[in-house]
Symmetry: D2
Subunit: 349 residues, 4 copies
């Protein structure tokens, strides 16, 4: 009953199979193989236009290189305070950019508040060298707390970006989970709403290690071949990332895995609510569930083999949390089984 994170899961059989299948023979290295090219072509199809795709090894690398591609001296990136960029990358975005700053823009339910966003940007007036200058907005979809931006919300944030002359980056570590939840195409969720750059994650959804930096605005990718290589993210046997994506996209495996993962989260939410010992902090929209669980129940679950993180209570809940209530984070994945979910809920009951 491992709900610690979707990266505690391993890799899907078909992904493994594809790697093994492509392990033989000789191929051009450093991303120049036929397989690399073919998978890049798949990304074009996915977005319905020519995009610029760069495979990298980790989500942190994708995010940090995205920021490097749009870097400015004294540059400031606006993101949610809980963004992976801000909370889970040990300062990699700052390091890769040689010192860009992350400016937290809070908002309810893991989403940047649009009025606060404009106010935060206004804090950096044009040509005022003392403060620095805006360089990008980054949103996470699905968010770090399992919620979603609606298409309209993305479009509204993009409109702020346009007005202020800065690009919009989308951290899609859980891109597929968002996509199937919104039930739209990749282009509809991003391109059509004005997203410029995507950290397109496969790792959390059934790959070993398959991340892609996708530039919908290919002009922004001009320096990327050098930026990626300089950041030690150009893999000599790049085809092994391509091989994972190849299986991942084949017959929409990625969407199927994400649907399963989301369904498990929904099942878990329902089951926990029914147990009487839990209440949802907010409704899950992808593959993460955040319930308040009674301390005694938490202990029982952990003792019975349940694995999950306790989570800091957002300040917006002040005064509304019982003394023995613990906020928990439960993450489901392609590998989560109904059996584990049901047993977990049963123990919680």
């Amino acid at each position: 009953m491992n709900f610690r994170s979707d990266n505690c899961a391993g890799a899907h059989d078909l992904v493994c199979e594809s790697m093994t299948k492509n392990a033989g023979g000789f191929a051009a290295s450093y991303g120049a193989s036929d397989l690399d090219r073919r998978v890049e072509e798949k990304f074009n199809e996915l977005f319905g236009r020519e995009v610029a795709v760069f495979f990298v090894g980790t989500g942190t690398a994708a995010n940090s290189l995205a920021m490097t591609a749009v870097n400015r001296p004294g540059g400031v990136v606006f993101c949610h305070p809980q963004a992976h960029l801000a909370e889970d990358e040990c300062g990699a975005p700052e390091y890769f950019t040689g010192g860009a700053r992350l400016c937290g823009v809070d908002g309810p339910l893991g989403r940047i508040d649009i009025e606060r966003l404009q106010r935060a940007i206004d804090g950096y007036p044009a040509d005022f060298v003392h403060m620095g200058q805006p360089m990008a907005v980054s949103i996470t979809q699905s968010t770090e707390i399992g919620t979603l931006y609606s298409l309209d919300q993305i479009a509204a944030i993009s409109a702020v970006c346009r007005r202020n002359g800065i690009p919009l980056h989308l951290d899609g570590a859980r891109f597929a989970n968002a996509l199937v939840s919104l039930d739209v195409s990749p282009a509809r969720m991003t391109l059509e709403q004005g997203v410029d750059i995507i950290s397109f994650g496969g790792t959390k959804n059934g790959c070993w290690c398959a991340e892609a930096l996708v530039f919908l605005d290919i002009d922004l990718a001009r320096d990327m071949p050098f930026l990626r290589k300089r950041a030690a993210q150009l893999f000599s046997k790049s085809r092994f990332i391509a091989a994972q994506f190849d299986a991942y996209f084949e017959k929409d495996l990625w969407l199927e895995l994400a649907r399963h993962s989301n369904a498990m989260a929904a099942r878990l939410a329902t089951g926990l609510e029914a147990s009487g010992n839990c209440r949802l902090a907010w409704r899950p929209e992808a593959n993460e569930v955040f319930p308040f669980i009674r301390r005694g129940t938490v202990d029982k679950l952990m003792k019975s083999g349940g694995e999950f993180h306790e989570w800091p209570v957002p300040s917006s809940f002040a005064g509304e949390v019982g003394e023995d209530e613990v906020l928990c984070r439960l993450v489901t994945s392609f590998a989560t089984t109904e059996h584990d979910v049901d047993r977990f809920c049963e123990i919680a009951g």
Copy 2:
């Protein structure tokens, strides 16, 4: 007949098998899984002492992080002008360190000349802030041109490092090829000769993507957990690297693969010399062969499916190269077949 590079080969069956075998179930992420721990333990056994091991994704990452671990303001790394660090990493060592400098120290046959090394270091007098300060020496074993440092040569370079208070790094992208050629233990080739840090490469010798940064002097590794994470080289599903190394070390697979690779290089060298249309620029000591081949023969080989790089002629050969002679680099790997070698030599003949 692909002799372009050992990274044009794929992955060995047993390595693939191990990845597949370890793909199921849940495991702690970010290097904390049992498998990760077990493989780290293997490294301890390999070197006969407790070492500090950090898995990373590319050789460039290993080298650059090694330099970051020993970084100093105004720091200067002394390496051969043909070092991978200097010629093939797009400035990653300079980037990761925030501006350390590589100082080329030439020497015959891909090896740093020891007297030039001391002279180069002397160019940076202690406490003279204008020039900067020495921070490390880096050697490659086997070298970029398929030769080896003898144990005595490594020890002599280490002695220079000791005298000047700087650590010795060994770029072991082809560590195994050197080891089996010298027929010594890992500890004997490194620890006992005074090496402090190793970029331990598995990728070129039959893995997909398995590199480890090994600190024999574990004090130097103090900051590494943060340095690695900040550099986007901490893999969430780290066990997929561990799984590769697990198979790699099992029953000395790695040594067997390297022996095969070296044997293919020797066979190729012998075959080419016998052909009458080639002469060796220098004797191969690992898995790279550098012959002068007549232009007509080069064309014939390429037309017949031979793949390899033409190579710049070192200035030390000035006046000794025939007008129609082309210096070529041929790299063998675990995947090279006798059949391909023999056919290549036959065409050359």
Copy 3:
């Protein structure tokens, strides 16, 4: 009637005189002249112990190099959101450190709140590589809004630093103004309260360009000669900075200038309060006055040659500010005259 900033003033006569007096003849460059040494010795006397002093050209350089001296991978500096470091240096601290992060810790009246400070530090648990790690606390004395930390408050913040194993930096761009206001010695305000590093500013208080980075804990200064030179802050004719400090300290000129400056601020505050059209947002403790002034009065003042900045109203004043009230910042300096102050107050009346 220029109250825009203390750096709109020029240089004191005695400072100019000293530069001219030391302009002739030859002297050792790069900080090795007799005058440099003598002024360094003065700093030792000032703090009653051997300190490590490094002249630099700007306050931003002093602050940023202080952070570089205590830098860690994934490092986080805790400072007030209004700190000069955070608001006025275009990301220089982040740039110089290669990506350290500033974490704003709010608190009333320009001072870091000590409980929030500990909470903020707790957000970066030891050895948790994902978040990064604490590396320093930086306070400004006098603060950016003209208030002061009491000695006890400094000691309390230092105690938090000690507990968490990080150094305490003091941005003393207005060091002298704080000192004469508290009426204590330099050592008492810093060393005895547990400050480790000081950005010691002379520029705002009557010099052209005289800043010093002072390490009370000289162990932290080990790399500074190289750090300063690498940051282009080692001046070839360093004696011109020394010459300024020489006059600055002679017969306590610096304290006299600061006393004058503070007295002008007090006079301004009293005069404005008496005018009936202004109220002080908070009581000035050094050389900056923040009054709410009626819009009409602001216009009249500006039309009459008054120069000063309108200032954003802190959120803590929400609901307490009249519709026609404007928060203003008025800064006095060594060059401010009673005449200008009185005339300004008269116009405001």
Copy 4:
């Protein structure tokens, strides 16, 4: 008899006077004062077109920021191995650019050899990410060893830059000395030969601290206001640099000082040659003299109060240097007197 360096001299009387004259009153800070504007206008006149001028504090800052302005990922700067950039800045260019590389291009008499330059650039083929990419050529005028590039030589190097799509930077720490020696206008020496960016030095020629980064191609200066501020090189009381330049340019003081300095070097060269105990390593073309002096004479000179540096003998002199000959560097300045020169030569005789 101080010939150690032109930065051992102080400041010219008129420069001091100008600083003192401009010390009073209030003025806009951070480069926005009338004086700043007026001096910027002088630079426009000097070059006969609108240029972009940025005052900075040190020559190292000017050079390093010039490189930052033209920075590229994996970028490589081509300069002479003895360039100040490479030998005297503690890696500041690498640090400011976040890791650009300096590639030494040797050539006789302190000048980059043009054929070697093209060959060096050819070592970085377009779009070949492994090596990095060319980003600039930097030449020093007058060179670090007191020689000059002729106008044709500058034009030829610029032509190489144009062909390879990279800008040409000129380190003009001794700009005036070169100018009066060639007896041409600033525009003729730079703009008309294809120079794009100049580190325009005043410090070595009679200022305290007056350096300007001048962009003849103002498009390259787009990011400079932020780059300079971020690098801690925007001075709050910027007018003190402007005041120095104001006096420096007034009635061509700068050219007069440089002429004096060069004349002193010529007199020194002649006098030393006549002494019989010295021979010139090469003919001085600006304000630096490099004689071989007999060891006994060196000792006598030093004992008698002569101050100067011994200098490493270039490899091109191998076999041509007597056992008791010492290569020395003697630098003259605006402050050097005929009396000192003659006495020095007399002692040498």
